[in-house]
């Protein structure tokens, strides 16, 4: 393993992005194998503390993706997620978390190609950023 292979965790909703990722598979579109998908019913279900936990577990990058605005299977879950994210990212920024490592996207069940592109793009960016060691450092310094 000469090159750095980042660990990327994707929190996706069951109805759009998970189905979109399935479509990527059905269409046999190849993408970077760094991503691990965690399936949730809706992006509205995502407790953003999970994002911190993921970094704590050594994740180098995080993807959050759900249905396009207006297309949520549960009417408005993705809007809740978006709103929560707007508030949360300021807090994260304040805490010194590297916001470049968290990527938000809307990927529908029909966008298999977009999912692959997005994963590749994020993987590329995280590769450039390198391992997320400063988070671990911050944690060990007792700032939580």
């Amino acid at each position: 393993m000469s090159e750095f292979e980042p660990k990327i965790i994707a929190f996706v909703c069951n109805w759009c992005t998970y189905a979109g990722a399935d479509l990527t598979g059905t269409s046999r579109i190849k993408y970077a194998s760094n991503v691990r998908i965690v399936r949730l019913p809706c992006t509205g279900r995502i407790d953003f503390m999970l994002l911190l936990k993921a970094f704590d577990q050594g994740a180098d990058g995080i993807i959050v993706s759900g249905c396009h605005p207006g297309d949520c299977h549960y009417t408005a879950g993705n809007f809740h997620a978006r709103r929560r994210w707007m508030v949360f990212r300021q807090l994260l920024d304040f805490l010194g978390i590297d916001l470049r490592r968290i990527h938000f996207a809307w990927i529908s069940a029909a966008e298999g190609g977009k999912f692959a592109e997005f994963v590749n793009q994020v993987t590329g960016e995280i590769k450039k950023l390198g391992p997320y060691q400063s988070y671990q450092k911050a944690m060990s310094a007792g700032i939580e």
Partner: protein, 663 residues
Amino acid sequence: MSRIGVFVCHCGENIAATVDPAKVAEAASKMPGVVHAVDYKYMCSDPGQNLIKQAIKEKKLTGVVVAACSPRMHEPTFRNAAAEAGLNPFLCEMANIREQCSWVHEKSEFTTQKAIELVAIMVEKVKRNKPLFPIKVPITKTALVLGGGIAGIQASLDIANAGHKVILVEKSPSIGGHMAQLSETFPTLDCSQCILTPRMVEVARHPNITLYTYSELESVSGFIGNFKVRIRKKARGIDEKLCTGCGICSQKCPQKKIPSEFDAGLGKRPAIYVPFPQAVPNKPVIDRAACTYYKKGKCRVCEKFCEKKAIRLDQQDEIIEAEVGAIVAATGFDIKGADFFPEYGYGKYPDVITGLQFERLASASGPTLGAIKRPSDGKTPETVVFIACAGSRDPAKGIDYCSKICCMYTAKHAMLYKHKVHGGQAYVFYMDIRAGGKMYEEFVRRAIEEDGVKYIRGRVSRIYEEDGKLVVKGADSLLGGEPLEIKADLVVLATAIVANADAEELAQKLKVSYDPYHFLSEAHPKLRPVETNTAGIFLAGAVQAPKDIPETVAQASGAAAKVAALFSSAELSREPVIAVVNRQPPPVLSTCTGCFLCEKACPYQAIEREEIRDRKGNLLKVVAKVNPGLCQGCGTCVALCRVKAIDLQGFTNEQVLAEVLAL
């Protein structure tokens, strides 16, 4: 102590080509809590399922992870297998190592490693799974059908004949839809009204069907089996019970020059009118935008002449509330209007008309009583040019799709014209002739070979008027794009079929998805063409995509069969993936602080308030409670809850956290 079984599927070569299943099984067997791990060629096959069932019994498994395809594919299969072996089905989870691993990565150690990690995630989750039991909800055995065209009529009749109640809501004053406007139908040249009107009458007198015409859907709440709908019955301006439909009001109405919607603007109607003679119900409606009384405050001629005293000029809209178990959306389509074709002069030249207008010209009940006369001067046209694909298959117009029926009805129009005007000449400009369907190709051939319709492959660039003739400029692409000019008396545009202007609004009311063209989306393009992604809501007809009458009728009957199947059982069993507010057994308490943020966030109004009292009846606190019938399990409330008092069964905080920790 957990006893987890891991079953790794090869899916033939689908997984085994890039992932090493034996290695995955071996790695899984070393995961904490895993007592059994095997790989097999086809896990979903009978022998594969038996492997799982046997292991559950022999190894006394408390949880199962099947590493195979997407849970969206086979989760029900494996959960059923687990249930047959006596394990609660919700203790079975799937690791998606096909769609999200073997199919998307090259063969390498990384890919196998990823599969192992995906299994590890699921093992950690399933350890924390709890037995869940399906929720039973009662079903209201009444269907709501939206739209009274042929799709809605067919669906209503089929559901009603199956013995269930139907509420049919139609926006316009009569049912019948576009099919009632057509002259003849391809490929048999059956008279459209002759085959349709008996069904319209059947709808009106069917004891199981309640018909609301001139009504629209106001709002929908609830869920499959238990929808609550509000219907706005617009003020017709008459007392329908008293009105006998004698028609004296229409005869006496001084406003006579309003373009008739039914005749696609070619005919005229009064302000109080019945859209067409065979209308169901045969009761007039007052067009308030055109009526003198509503504009100037006086007239009341209809009121004076009505013998039954049935005119109600001060009538208000009425809201009707109903409970229904299923909804069929059959609201049909629209066609592109005037401003869409500036190069063809539609709207500018009266003799450039749409296909629907030509239907009215050719119809025996139309403004010309079936004689082909051009709108400008009433003369019989000697040369008629039909332009197929007017708007359709034209990315520049924003309509990429094929409207599907135009090739056929254009051939029909040309044929009808030739039948009625023997000496006339018909030209058809086309891009391709798409005549897939029973007897369709033969029909087009007949138009060309027997009736002598001239087909020209090419597009029309422009139409302009010169010496009382419409000059159609085009090119014949089969002759190397040679420019071509035809002097025509009448031009008929086979205009693109588009979604209704309010289709998006309807989709949002019904909470179903729609495509970029605002046609409502089916749940699966191949295998679930009549269902939507919202359970209990079905599609019929052109609301889903352009389609012809037989296809529409087939889909309507399909939707009706789905509704009848849903209504065949007394209650509905739902997946128990719902939120619950934690409550400890006595003393009855909850960590819920009663902030009710969840109440505001819930899109389904599923959060109720529950009072906790002590033995003396003193109020201790008010906490949130989830109505299991209404909750759809999105989990928005869970992520929102400050005190983590609310949790989502099947995706609990503990489970999801365990998944993250397994990474």
